[in-house]
Symmetry: C2
């Protein structure tokens, strides 16, 4: 089985022009099949401010009303996606931009309203890899923004970490799939204030202990749950850390495996 | 040789939600291989107004400064392209959105500054159809916005009519290629105020006469030059008229052929 790398980058890279440029330069050199998934960064909030659209939050989470969905579609699928695709082309990496609507790749359902109505937010229900498989075979590199659709014509805002893990799970049948979450820290840290305190290996066995000790808490919990969800569905490994982990063999990061 | 239909729609369809919906419903039923190219409509100007970005014009033509390019990328490649793709998916048409940067499909160069600096406007220099050919073979329908790139990481604003004709020309080697320009009129008119006065056939022979008589003038001249440029490069026919020409066998429209 060939290896497929699925790499997710977040706002810390997207919002910094130099960081994005050097990341994409290194990314384009990575051998073998690869898919890039990007989050949104601060650009959507900046555009909302310029347009005097109020950013609505509930418990720290953005509510996607119809105006916000428009902004997100413009910024994520338009500005950020096409900028990344053009920059990859300049590095001779034959990128093709995707939302989940393109090629019907990622189908989601609008989240049911419980206590909070999150609006046009989609939870993934199906991933169709046929178009992506065809493109990967011709050495294209799909670049995903975090927008999906419901197959009834509605675009939906979807978590980029989830898009990356669902793609990895869907591809696990046909590729040895590796999932990489790149963010501002060196990985899961023993001490949240010390970037050197990276926990290099997390397995299903020590995960429970780390949770019980409170070492893994807050925002890191859903991230890790996402990782173990992927591992439980035949993704071969998940790595978390700074983007250097992809290019620099000496860098320290967290690897999550089944055991 | 199989037939490929390349269909360009403009602002009169894009700006009208009902018109867009019914066009896409009919478009999705068209048999055989097809590519959709869409213009921008009024949304870009509306967004520029909301963001207090001044729309700069020279002799009735928009100047694409860096802020305008951002707006166009967001509106054309983001909002409009993804809305169309999602709506086509709802009609079981497996659409995949493209800019010229995606798959390195349309390469352009920034227009040289003569009297006027049009800014980030690109003139097409190369069309690479390999990714598109692969997708068409798997019954996907590419949907193009009017943005290209220069292979050095720069996105460029390009005329949608030109994108449609350059795609048609590039595909003429491998498909019997038909080009359709859909707009608000029934075609080229004898009398510009009478939609019933459609000139149904224009050939290289009567084109010169129609120009000499002044029947074809103003905005219609570059449109027709574009059509004859396609015809001269092996596109089998070009049709101009209302979108009905694609679906209604009784509708009248203009067909341009070599002779």
């Amino acid at each position: 089985m060939k290896t497929l790398k699925i790499i997710k980058i977040g706002g810390n890279i997207i919002d910094n022009e130099d960081a994005l440029h050097s990341f994409l330069k290194e990314f384009s050199k990575l051998k073998g099949s690869k898919i890039l998934v990007h989050g949104g960064g601060k650009l959507a909030t900046q555009l909302a401010n310029k347009m005097n659209v109020e950013v609505k939050m509930s418990n720290g989470r953005r509510i996607t009303d119809v105006e916000t969905l428009d902004i997100i579609t413009m910024v994520y699928a338009g500005k950020i996606n096409k900028t990344i695709v053009a920059k990859l082309q300049a590095q001779q990496c034959n990128a093709v931009g995707f939302s989940g609507a393109d090629g019907n790749t990622i189908v989601s359902v609008k989240r049911h309203v419980k206590e909070v109505d999150f609006g046009y937010v989609g939870d993934v229900v199906m991933v169709n890899i046929s178009v992506l498989k065809t493109l990967l075979k011709t050495n294209c590199t799909p670049v995903f923004c975090a927008i999906t659709h419901d197959e009834n014509g509605q675009l939906l805002n979807t978590n980029a970490d989830t898009i990356a893990s669902e793609l990895a799970i869907a591809f696990a049948e046909v590729y040895k799939t590796e999932l990489y979450y790149c963010f501002e820290k060196s990985g899961v840290l023993e001490n949240v204030d010390d970037n050197a305190s990276v926990i290099e290996d997390i397995t299903t066995e020590n995960f429970q202990t780390l949770k019980d000790q409170g070492t893994i808490a807050d925002g890191m919990l859903p991230k890790l749950d996402n990782c173990f969800h992927a591992i439980a569905h035949n993704v071969s490994k998940v790595c978390i850390g700074k983007p250097e982990l992809l290019f620099n063999s000496k860098s320290k990061f967290t690897t999550i495996t089944a055991k």
